[in-house]
Homo-oligomer: 253 residues x 2
DNA sequence: CGGCCAGTTTGATCTGGATCAATCAGCGGA
DNA sequence: TCCGCTGATTGATCCAGATCAAACTGGCCG
């Protein structure tokens, strides 16, 4: 619990590595063929709406660790994630980092009360997003109340997740944090259709630690202990849950 | 950082004391005379809208520690706080508590993705709210897109506060937490027009501790130290900031 | 195939904040 | 005025998780 937990050289290196938004290729993947449309904010748009949405959206690809946007920048765009996983985080001036969430395909990044981004987002693996100018997006919304309702539902869901995370960060033990994370992450993967036995963990241990308010060592030790206790097996790129009910019990209490 | 921090007998007593919603007096305070209307979701309603809003709203008074609603209950109502201060919190099965926010006059409690309350809310001091049935509220919204935009702005603000709080809970030291809380609370009080030199703290030390992910002893000790260091003076019902810039510096870093 | 390098794991030690345990202070009621 | 109760403060001690410090692992490049 010391003051500078979360500051580490690896992170600073990573930070330096992250390029600002490059002149990405804008692809012509059509919204009507979007594989996550029903999960995304676009799930309530009809063909006509979708055509108009497509007109104002750009499809962007980002390489691993490339930034979608950075806290403090003027918020010119909103994003809807269509592939890959992004990490959303805030930094303290001395480099301590809090990951406030992981964005999955279908997630919307654009609910913000200010004209500047209040957090940073970058690609964990290879990511694709639909990027819309805030202005065009605002205009698009104004004429489509049902779409606004959808946006609102997404914001409400985000808010509930954030409140759950506050409970985790403030009142759960390290063991409970890790178990909750695994159960919650599995749940979210299942919602986007990924229901393999093995829980994929594309983010680094440092990302997990910064999400749970722990150090990388504590995350690693806790996972190792779970493995020793036969609750799971650590595999390349994830974990395989052997005793899901025990994990769920830890996560609940 | 032990597992059961936040569980305490005083809380259990308080919990038992909190009555379920009593047959409160519904007053006739008219919305057009509402002192916090411009701050609240109603700030964008015109006279006609307001009359309709009034028709579907009930004005409710709650005594200190009385519950507005409880996590897990079917969410029948939404609320707009018009006077007093409420604490919003989540509990773990063993009684550990996380205060996820304090609601001030003008705040809206109703952004939720589920048909059950995901957190509990109760009055800290004497509280007045406008209570609307979810159903009527949803209907009211559907016909008023500009109002929905307002609701959305409120949700976005809530979300940003929640993200800021995640950073605090996950990565700040006890000292930084307390300083951040004081600065942030003063800010919020100022926004509703309370700009006295002394920062009013109507909530208990336990509430503050549960908001910051600390114990009551740590909050108390930290405030005492701040006083010893002449950063502030502890007074009945609040603190007087002597060195706001030092507090702000602590809160920032 | 070997050497590097980034990320991860493991071990030893330390410490910030929790826990346990008394006071202390303010207030309402007799 | 005194008593009892509730919440706050203060002190002593403890320990979960941080910090410091090595290994270890796997992938990539020459």
């Amino acid at each position: 619990m010391a003051g500078r937990q979360g500051v580490n050289p690896a992170l600073e290196r990573a930070g330096a590595m992250i390029r600002t938004i490059s002149p990405n290729r804008a692809s012509f993947g059509r919204c009507s063929a979007c594989t996550v449309r029903s999960l995304s904010i676009c799930g309530v748009l009809d063909q006509a709406d979708l055509a108009e949405f497509e007109r104002i959206a750009r499809h962007i690809h980002l390489a691993p660790n490339e930034a979608l946007f950075t806290a403090g920048q003027v918020a010119q765009s909103v994003h809807s994630l269509t592939a890959g996983i992004a990490r959303l985080y805030k930094l303290l001036p001395d480099g301590r980092r809090q990951v406030i969430g992981f964005a999955l395909p279908g997630d919307f990044l654009g609910t913000a009360p200010s004209d500047r981004y209040s957090f940073s987002a970058d690609a964990i693996d290879s990511v694709t997003v639909c990027r819309l100018s805030r202005e065009a997006f605002t205009h698009f919304i104004e004429e489509r109340p049902h779409f606004l309702i959808r946006i609102n539902e997404f914001a409400a869901r985000e808010l509930m997740l954030a409140q759950e995370q506050m409970l985790l960060l403030g009142r759960r033990t390290a063991e409970e944090k890790v178990a909750s994370f695994l159960i919650g992450w599995r749940e979210r993967l299942a919602q986007i259709g990924d229901e393999r036995q093995t829980i994929a963990l594309p983010m680094s241990r440092q990302d997990i630690a910064d999400y749970l308010g722990l150090t990388i060592e504590t995350v690693s030790r806790t996972l190792t202990r779970f493995e020793r206790e036969k609750m799971l097996i650590i595999v390349a790129g994830g974990v395989r849950l052997l005793d899901a009910s025990r994990a769920a019990a830890m996560a609940a209490a």
